[in-house]
Symmetry: none
Subunit: 417 residues, 2 copies
């Protein structure tokens, strides 16, 4: 089973948009045991799309296409598909109903342009798209399957998950790939590699290891390919168990779970609550925590104290403490965390103060210096970090460090894990 991906859109060829759709689809296909032979990006031009379709059809059994299904003039994929499969556009009442419902829910009137989206190539399989107005379209030809999907990432993902991946599972149950991702926080890629080197040396040949670093988080992905899911899973689990012993203090989860979701489970289990008092992260940690569905049951709120007066007035940090030690200091973050617990009536608090950059650094406290404290029942701990020069990355790294720090305190104090 060989597949190809065709992503359509001028925005890709002028470099305005990074092709994240292609990598998402490639990953999903790969995990279903399907090889991706080529990824092709072409412009919104009839000739180019047709050529790409013809070439992909020669090489692959499954051809996935994204882009150009929208309602505007630059969206021509549907017309091109009609010509390619020698058919014509016809109105589809089910799609029209979906579009009408979509706009009704938003309290908006239907435009002529939206009505056009109910036109689908005759003979194609229409795939429901509840997240948007353009349906997915599937075509069967000489035992090959073509699936055209909207370019909007979450609409594409929905159609992949509701149609393409189930279709693969039903029709090509053959070879499988299993991945297991081990999430770590608080250690850099090369140090992690050195730490687990003896384990890597003993890794069975069937298991492939990849390092996937992002700011503050390193993921280790193990992959195994084969026929028998049970045997593969057992082999993988055994190796993961061995690996854990090398990195107990850095490991926090599996399979692209989010650190804030892991914490959420711990709070739900212990019945404890959390709040934040943030300076340099400016609400990023609260945003991460509240991104988890159901977080309102344990997250109380935050004070974002960007201005020192807010630290003094709301968080009761004495002005002379700021004057003596600076706003970025152990003394100030510890006070911020303690007061946040009281002010927001919360069991635990994360507090953060640092220099995100590009301005505000000094020889003593360069850009990237961040103090983080955790306060809770009978606990007040703080740590200093030195990140890098880039504002955006510093905010993300400080956020991951704070969540990782909170996790280790919760394990220690609440026995949650």
């Amino acid at each position: 089973m060989t597949s190809e991906i065709i992503t359509i859109g001028d925005e890709l060829l002028i470099g305005q948009v990074i092709n994240t759709n292609a990598s998402w689809m490639a990953k999903a296909l790969n995990e279903s045991g399907v090889d991706v032979r080529q990824i092709t990006s072409v412009s919104d031009t009839g000739d180019e799309i047709t050529r790409a379709l013809r070439e992909a059809e020669e090489r692959a059994d499954l051809i996935l296409i994204t882009g150009g299904l929208g309602p505007t003039n630059d969206d021509i994929t549907k017309d091109v598909l009609c010509k390619y499969f020698h058919t014509e556009l016809v109105n589809d009442n089910k799609v029209l109903n979906n579009i009408q419902g979509f706009f009704q829910r938003k309290g908006l009137a239907l435009t002529e342009l939206n009505r056009k989206q109910a036109l689908v190539p005759k003979g194609s399989t229409v795939i429901d798209n509840p997240l948007g107005t353009a349906p997915g379209l599937a075509f069967h030809k000489n035992g090959k399957l073509f699936v055209a999907m909207p370019g909007v990432p979450y609409e594409m993902k929905h159609i992949m998950q509701s149609f393409v991946l189930p279709w693969l599972q039903n029709n090509y149950p053959g070879s499988i790939i299993i991945h297991k991702t081990i999430m770590t926080q608080g250690i850099g890629e090369s140090f992690l590699a050195a730490k687990i080197a003896p384990w890597v040396d003993g890794l069975p040949r069937e298991i492939k290891l990849a390092y996937l670093p992002s700011p503050g988080i390193v993921r280790l992905r193990l992959s195994i390919k084969g026929k028998d899911r049970d045997i593969m899973k057992r082999l993988l689990d055994r190796e993961v168990e061995k690996l854990m012993k090398y990195i107990p203090e850095y490991f926090w989860g599996f399979d692209d779970e989010k650190l804030e979701a892991v914490l959420g489970k711990m709070f739900k289990k212990t019945g404890k609550s959390i709040c934040t008092a943030e300076s340099c992260t400016g609400g990023y940690v609260a945003h991460r925590i509240t991104g988890v569905p159901g977080s309102s049951s344990y997250f109380k709120g935050s004070v974002i104290a960007y201005d020192n007066h807010v630290k003094e007035n709301l968080l009761k940090v004495p002005p002379d403490l700021i004057e003596k030690y600076g706003a970025v200091s152990r003394e100030v973050v510890e006070k911020m965390a303690e007061e946040a617990c009281k002010l927001l009536d919360s069991d635990y608090a994360i507090s953060i103060s640092g220099i995100a950059g590009p301005d505000g650094g000094s020889a003593e406290k360069p850009v990237g210096t961040v103090w983080i404290a955790i306060a809770g029942p009978d606990v007040l701990e703080s740590k200093k970090f030195l990140f890098g020069d880039e504002r955006d990355r510093n905010i993300v790294r400080a956020g991951n460090a704070a969540l990782g720090f909170l996790r280790s305190v919760l394990i220690q104090k609440e026995g949650a894990g």
Copy 2:
């Protein structure tokens, strides 16, 4: 002048790595007036690379290749290029010196594997790579140019900037492309299209229009291709000016500027300050505002009032107001905004309360219902929005709506724009 990009590497086809190289190169070529006809990703396999080269050669004058030039076994691009151009590998002393210097500076010994990197295809133009060990390689064939570069992004960029782009400027000083992106907020793609339809109808044929939607923001990209930058710029500016008249209330900036950065300039200009009082967005708006370097000069801080008690205790929202109208109501957000101004000693405040989902919706107030208020000197305005079902998108859309709302109030009250 037509070009193609071939990116080589299994990591692209299994979706492990997002192809940022391709978009960077496409953008650079495009800005030099060179069309990119196709972007192709293939695996580290001799047959696949050869086929991609052959097909690209048929269509394009300039073929840029990245990846597979490293020292390890999976790097086969150099061997494939030798076969393709009927030549052989020979040692290049200049490259060997560079490699030796590279390792010496790092205090590392040279391995046999690294020494292999000094082998280059006979007859190729060797392009210096001071940032790594694999040089770039250029091949001329029937008036066409092939350039192979390492896949490491900063090494690729260096070779593009030191060799490919200067070569284009010297050999094809002719045609140029200018883009202008118009940023809008507060109107969906299809409604925007309907609104500007008369303008689209009158658009000169040389100008191409594309719609680029993301949650809460739609970008309109105008592109023009030609020889005379001044004439093109004038034509583009004239059309942008006409377009503005159709969408004054939705337009807020140009060329992928960020909405929060536009607001930052307004605050710096007026000397006014801002704070937020957030419920359902959980700090996301504060995070957006503080993502802008220098935001500490106008951003005071926030109260994230997730728990109703925080709304009552810190933001002085009377409990009976919440009981009577609900936490998601005009009355509550207006009170939150007014009190935030006082509490955080700020000229303006954004307040937000809504139901992000997946839980918490009702028939009267379904998931996606969001109230936003803006308070300021002599101003208190509020609006109700109805977004969709997805938590993440609701948070982003509420954030963009709040920032867009604030912008319109600032224009109206401060004459900033």
